[in-house]
């Protein structure tokens, strides 16, 4: 299962300055673990000590917020695209 993951600017220092990386795994959780294997230290930036995405991080699978799906246990398949985006944007 290879999926494309878009990484927010503050995390690009950990991904050799790449804004898009490939990762493998059958669920969002597995993808995050795989990212950690590739880019040590990235998971603790995205997730809290319980492994859940931090309050100020949103994760999208193919443009849908994973909170509308099954959260971190949402299944992913080949060719899917994941975006990790800071939650603080928009509104006034």
């Amino acid at each position: 299962m290879a999926v494309k993951v878009r990484v927010p600017t503050p995390l690009m220092k950990l991904t050799d300055n790449q804004s898009e990386v490939m990762a493998e795994g059958a669920t969002i959780s597995a993808i995050l673990d795989n990212l950690e294997n590739q880019f040590a230290g990235i998971k603790e930036r995205i997730c809290d000590e319980n492994g859940a995405p931090r309050r100020f991080i949103n994760i999208y699978l193919n443009e849908e917020d994973i909170r509308f799906l099954e959260g971190e246990s949402t299944a992913v398949k080949d060719g899917d695209e994941i975006s990790i985006i800071p939650a603080i944007a928009g509104g006034a």
Partner: protein, 412 residues
């Protein structure tokens, strides 16, 4: 002017230089403007403010620009209306409306944030401004970009009201409608921002932009005679305005311009998009995002960026959150127009209707000083009232025709 030390993370307090950035690199918390309050204390007094221009720029020392404002010089200092008729209808003896439906130049409170954001974009040297908008922000960014001589590219959800679309296009901008809700547009803008070196007013300029809203709170306090109200009812979308009104009141307290703030802050949403009021009612501090479905499109944000802080503001202040149906929104818009002669957009229907509900619940009491926030103009959301009124009678230009119709209407 020029009292900004830098930016600071609202969560972990890490400090950053004055740059077009909006989140903490470490915890992803929101960055806020870090003011030099000691310097501000030395220059800001009631007298210094009162001798300033009749615009939001009378509070320039408390706004995040390093240079004098370059656009939006006539924005703000909108009327605080003593609403005796609406107060009588609702059972309140000291009711006020803070009426930004007549804000300059695009008739919503967004002119406050955008005049700051576009002035800041010019300071940073950007040549293009952009935003994700539910309509009012689109109008204001397009107008201020035109004034600034900057290019603009504006993204909105498809299906917005005709007045909001035309009221953006007229200024000469590229307007793009995105299939989906505001939340889809907002996510897309964050992604576009990674590849385009633009000033996204509510993304990378957001720390500065948001503080433009403080002027709405300063004006309420000054116009009440340097007092903060007992209650303020605020429309909530992304939850920024509600936190900035609270911040404004507390800055005035710190500067000795008002007594101790005891204002209860109430969040108002449409039931069809109420992630913030739902969390408040459930006693939760976590937002569960929703898919918006309401006529109050200007505040239809299902995944509010500052939702967590909006909840905290309402709770800390001793306020609450309530929401009303689309039918109640329309009734409240009509009630406000019929009692006070103020035609607000759907979001203003939300605050008026929610106030009514809070009174019924006993949370707002008759003798308390209450301010309802009216943040947008009804002429922009005419679709909301399209089916409410029959077409006017058409008559021949003679007395007989008139008397027939007039008598008829009296029998209704």
């Amino acid at each position: 002017m020029g009292h900004v030390k830098g930016l600071i993370c609202k969560e972990c307090k890490r400090e950053y230089a004055k740059e077009p950035i909006h989140v903490c690199e470490f915890c992803f918390g929101p960055l806020e403007v870090n003011y030099d309050y000691e310097a501000i204390k030395k220059v800001v007094t009631k007298k210094s403010i009162e001798s300033g221009p009749p615009t939001m720029w009378r509070y320039e020392d408390l706004l995040p620009l390093d240079e004098p404002p370059k656009v939006g010089l006539h924005t703000g200092f909108t009327p605080l209306i003593r609403a005796k008729n609406l107060g009588k209808a609702l059972g309140l003896n000291h009711l006020y409306l803070k009426n930004d439906s007549v804000n300059h130049p695009t008739f919503s409170f967004k002119d406050r944030v955008v005049s700051v954001a576009v002035s800041k974009a010019l300071e940073f040297g950007f040549d293009t401004v952009s935003c994700a908008s539910t309509g009012n922000l689109a109008n204001s960014v397009a107008a201020h970009a035109a004034e600034a001589g900057l290019k603009s590219c504006i993204l909105i959800p498809d299906g917005l009201e005709a007045g909001k679309i035309l009221g953006t296009l007229v200024y000469g901008t590229q307007l793009i409608a995105v299939k989906g809700s505001y939340d889809d547009v907002n996510r897309l803008c964050s992604e576009i921002g990674a590849n385009h070196d633009w000033a996204f007013v509510n993304i990378n300029i957001r720390p500065y932009y948001g503080d433009g809203s403080k002027s709405y709170g300063y004006e309420i306090a000054e116009q009440l005679g340097w007092k903060t109200p007992d209650n303020v009812v605020v429309p909530v979308a992304g939850s920024s305005l509600i936190t900035k009104i609270w911040k404004a009141f507390h800055e005035f307290e710190m500067l000795g311009l008002v007594d101790k703030v005891q204002t209860k802050v109430f969040a108002a949403q449409a039931t069809g998009c109420s992630p913030v009021t739902t969390a408040i009612k459930n006693g939760s501090e976590n937002i569960i995002p929703v898919k918006p479905n309401t006529i109050a499109k200007s505040i239809a944000i299902g995944n509010p960026a500052d939702g967590y802080y909006g909840i905290k503001t309402a709770n800390t202040s001793g306020g609450y959150g309530e929401d009303i149906s689309d039918e109640e929104i329309v009734s409240a818009m009509k009630l406000l127009a019929e009692t006070e002669g103020v035609f607000t957009e759907t979001a203003g229907g939300v605050t008026v209707g929610v106030t009514q509900k809070l009174i019924q619940q006993g949370r707002i009491k008759p003798d308390e000083v209450t301010v309802i926030c009216i943040t947008g103009n009804g002429l922009k959301t005419q679709e909301a009232l399209a089916d409410c009124f029959p077409a006017p009678e058409v008559i021949e230009p003679n007395i007989k025709g008139f008397e027939e119709v007039f008598a008829n209407s009296l029998t209704v």
